[in-house]
Amino acid sequence: MAGNYACAEGAIAAGCRFYAGYPITPSSEIAEHMSRRLPQVGGHYVQMEDEIGSIAAILGASNAGMKVMTATSGPGFSLMMENIGLGVITETPCVVVDVQRGGPSTGLPTLVGQADMMQVRWGSHGDYEVIAFAPNSVQEMFDLTVKAFNMAEKFRTPVFVMADQIIAHMTDRLVIPPPEDIEVVQRKKAMKQGPSFLPFDFSQDFPPMAIAGEGHHVNVDSLTHDERGYPSAKHDVSERMLEHLIGKIRNNLETIVQVEHYLTDDAKVVVIAYGSTSRSALHAVKEARRAGMKVGLLRLITPWPFPVREVERIGAKAKAVVVPEINYGQIEHPVREHVDCRVIGIHHAAGSLVPPDKIYAALEKL
């Protein structure tokens, strides 16, 4: 099964019953598969007029109590940015899949890129934190999509699956476990409560969510708001709200951050990679080990929040780290922020996977 189908099946297994999207290469198979599968399970597939409408529609549907998703690629992802901020400030769970292609602009629609990694972190205006997964296999397109839903529902925030064209279009064996073996987090919904009910209780990381039509009479606001959901221009309210929005992620890094180590224990040089590039990196590292080099691989399964502790640990032991990516140094940037050793970025233009030789050559020189 191809990666995009695995992603769609993962969404359905996670309980997604509402998809709104706009077709765009190389993500369209997700929409196509959802349009066939969702009605079979009583769900809704809505093809919107553009990506702005798509993200707005999933936020609306999420507020009606559904698990929701959209999928897109670079240009559509850019269009979604403003309303990703709406999802953040209104604490609305949703999953956004970005199948990265070459950019900027229309770029290389059918070819791979990894250059939306900073946009996903900082693309919407204002201060916020994000959770983003970077799958590197067809199986992870399924598994991490399920996980993205679980995180979105628990943290009440948009969660991203930062896939790429290679993984999305690659065919591989996919094992879909029986439903009882898939961990699925259900949203904590607010029970009907009295006048003391605070729909945006900033004192809790994860306050239960008030769903439309369930009698809460909640005001959900894109303006800076207080615990009642009422808009406020007071500085202390702004501070409380932002501390909450940012804190609910920063206070829970150990339950979010996920990395994979390959022979990093004794490694003098560590490659730090994510997504499809991590497969080139693994190939190069294995070859270098065979040639006797003490090298390892740290794979960032969650590029965001950035795995600070794990990267710092690597940086304290290794004499150099190598960061290959299909962009001009986006994740290299936070790596540099958190290590004192030498950092070599392998910058690869959009359009093809970083060849293992290119990474091997860099390892050989160190």
């Binding site: 067809v138 279009h169 690659m170 591989d172 064996r173 996977l353």
Partner: protein, 179 residues
């Protein structure tokens, strides 16, 4: 680790992508080894080029793309011209006899298979890819015969008999099957 890279390239409509899927399914679902496939095609549905790349291995596959095909199947002249230089001298190169001229290349082991004319004899041109799969299975052992047959039958239960004939004809052509 035995990693093998297979590239199939031909024209849209020849069933190149399908053949790639069948190899992948035989290896992955029936032989229970590892296989990943990537595909590429020109924007035209019929008549343009079409390519399926499969990597197979006994263990988990890291780099998923084909860089030096151990097996090249070229069902069109372009498919041969574009790719033969990427193969190694000991790679297996299979070409469609009716469409590909390989005279210019001397230092490769090339098998010319008349898959299209066999398919026409069988009454359906679309089974040329199955003829090739038969030949490929016998010649290269990328997948077991049982696995490949199971993959084909699972995908096309209604055309089982025709596909079996096509597969057998291709299989029998292989020099490795010669008595």
């Amino acid at each position: 680790m035995i990693r093998r890279e297979i590239r199939l390239q031909g024209l849209g409509g020849q069933g190149i992508i399908t053949a790639g899927h069948l190899i992948g399914e035989a290896v992955s679902l029936h032989d229970r080894k590892e296989a990943v496939m990537t595909e590429d095609y020109s924007p035209y549905i019929t008549g343009g080029w079409s390519r399926a790349d499969i990597v197979i291995s006994d263990e988990k596959i890291d780099y998923p793309l084909v860089s030096r095909p151990d097996i090249l199947v070229a069902m069109s002249q372009d498919g041969f011209d574009d790719n033969w230089e990427a193969t190694a001298p000991d790679s297996t190169v299979i070409v469609e006899a009716g469409l590909v001229n390989t005279n210019a290349v001397k230092d490769r082991k090339i098998f010319a298979v008349p898959a299209l004319s066999i398919a026409e004899e069988l009454g359906k041109k679309v089974v040329a890819n199955i003829v090739v799969l038969g030949f490929l299975t016998a010649t290269s052992r990328v997948a077991s015969r049982e696995a490949m047959e199971a993959a084909i039958v699972t995908r096309y239960p209604k055309a089982a008999e025709l596909n079996r004939q096509a597969f057998d004809r291709g299989y029998a052509l292989s020099p490795k099957e010669a008595p």
